[in-house]
Symmetry: C2
């Protein structure tokens, strides 16, 4: 059942003994939500603890420091930033059908909780935790503000992506009044790269293929390449590579071809304002957004490229 922020806040005041679940492969938003909500509930005199199927990356450990560890048997399960119970990872089997309240901001999602408070226009689920704190009238503090800010920054690429709203900046301005080292947070989230990641990016750039006066750039992430870098690169370091080709000046369509099986490739297409990435991917039974879309194509790498190239060239208006 869908509920609004007032009802969600009222429920959180009424119940107790909370177990807060983040999605697997946790990011700054799901963790920021969990640790902020946990601290807020503890401040309100409740028992609360957080749980996630996977470990928290060292660079996000600072999110966990504001919580009092409490021993208790949980009675009320809340999920944060979880669009589908499957995304709970290995916790799905144990808790997936017991979630009382889901707090989320994903537009496409499946209902799995008894009650759901969802705001698809929110850039980050942490915006919803902020709204809940306002309604519950629990004062924030530096640590809670740190958690909520981390969620906003994570999901908006530090206020760069198109999901950022006036409300996102307004909440950021309120959070910043609590004074926390946002420069270090942003450094950890956005600037810092492992040596292994830099080497991986170097090799990807060296092998990047350009067509049509650099308007098209293609990157191939083959199993061989991933395997070779596996030992010097964390799993997390393989994220975000799909953005690389479009970053080169002049590139209007950036394509990342990622090998899934011997002859199955997952394609990610990023495009400039003028070009509809979704239309390109629909030709291959895929889809997505106008500026970022995807599809899956079968064949050898050369066959996959040969299938795509005419569509890409047509999109940038470049003669064969």
């Amino acid at each position: 059942m869908l509920i609004n922020v007032e009802r969600a806040a009222r429920m959180l005041k009424e119940y107790d003994y909370y177990l807060i679940l983040s999605h697997a492969n946790p990011d700054g938003d799901t963790l920021g939500c969990a640790y902020a909500l946990c601290a807020l509930l503890q401040k309100a005199g409740k028992f609360a603890k957080c749980l996630c199927a996977d470990e928290i990356a060292p660079r996000m450990k600072y999110l966990t420091t504001g919580i009092q560890p409490q021993e208790f048997e949980h009675q009320t399960i809340v999920s944060v930033d979880v669009a589908d119970r499957k995304l709970l990872g290995k916790l799905n089997e144990v808790y997936g059908d017991e979630v009382f309240l889901a707090i989320d901001h994903h537009r496409s999602r499946t209902e799995f909780a008894e009650f759901t408070y969802v705001e698809p226009d929110a850039a980050a689920a942490c915006e919803l935790i902020y709204e809940i704190a306002q309604v519950m009238q629990i004062p924030l503090d530096e640590q809670i503000a740190t958690c909520l800010y981390t969620g906003l920054a994570t999901d908006t690429g530090c206020f760069r992506f198109s999901n950022t709203t006036p409300r996102t900046h307004f909440i950021a301005s309120k959070l910043m009044e609590y004074g926390f080292p946002y420069e270090d947070i942003n450094y950890r989230l956005f600037d810092m790269k492992s040596k292994g990641r830099v080497r991986l990016e170097q090799e990807i750039f060296e092998k990047m293929e350009f067509y049509c006066d650099d308007k098209i750039a293609i990157v191939c992430l083959t199993n061989e390449l991933m395997e070779r870098h596996k030992n010097s690169v964390d799993a997390e370091d393989f994220n975000g590579l799909a953005g690389m080709p479009r970053r080169i000046e002049g590139v209007e369509i950036g394509v990342t071809i990622k090998q899934k099986e011997e002859k199955v490739f997952k394609i990610s297409v990023r495009s400039s304002e003028e070009i509809n990435a979704s239309e390109i991917c629909e030709k291959f039974d895929g889809g997505g957004h106008a500026r970022a879309a995807g599809c899956t194509i079968e064949g050898t790498l050369e066959e996959v490229k040969a299938k795509m190239l005419p569509e890409l060239k047509r999109a940038v208006g470049c003669g064969e």
Copy 2:
């Protein structure tokens, strides 16, 4: 004479025939200020035009589109984001001693205008133009909001740097209500890199020297290296390289050694929270901020490194 925002706004209402000067090598803040103020004054029924000693980079041309070209002889000169008249470049000789009103946010500056409205706590001079528009009660529009947002984003590294304040985010939230393609602006300002820049960064990374378990990273920008990349890299592309070494995970002190003359090197030191970069640079008669400082050292490159290394090692607490 220092004046406040009310007085600055009153003056701008009173006078007319404005020439607005940006600093040389213009960035998004000085240009954002100039084109926003020009549009605001034109909206208020005044004559106004912008001037800069240097050309506007193609990726910032979008800032200029909201202005009506007006032919007139100027009577009132306003400078924006100019901390010293020398920074006007070749315009200094012509207009440097005729500036009526300087609008600026630099902490260390020299007075050169008849009247100066300065707010050293503002992250960007564009914040001051926003305040002036509020006091003058001239409504903003999409194009003015675009200019002001560009200034905020430029000077804060898209809200990442420590100069960002609650007010910066608050103004950003107000500007975003006018709806403009901020995602594209941020892409152009922060994500996009020329092929030449990527190749330059690659070579710099390959030659980066690490000491003390990667806690220290040193980059050398020799004349030979700069010369070799000169043809494939714009002058602008040589900016921002000083941030590179500190971006590698684990690096606590990132040092960039830039050759100025055969045996003169300019050093830039960036450090983690725990380390005082300014203290290190003071040992070599330099200085700056706690996390970003600089100095100049004479000698061969090897001599310069040999002079610095003991100080760097001491700072990270690593035995010789």
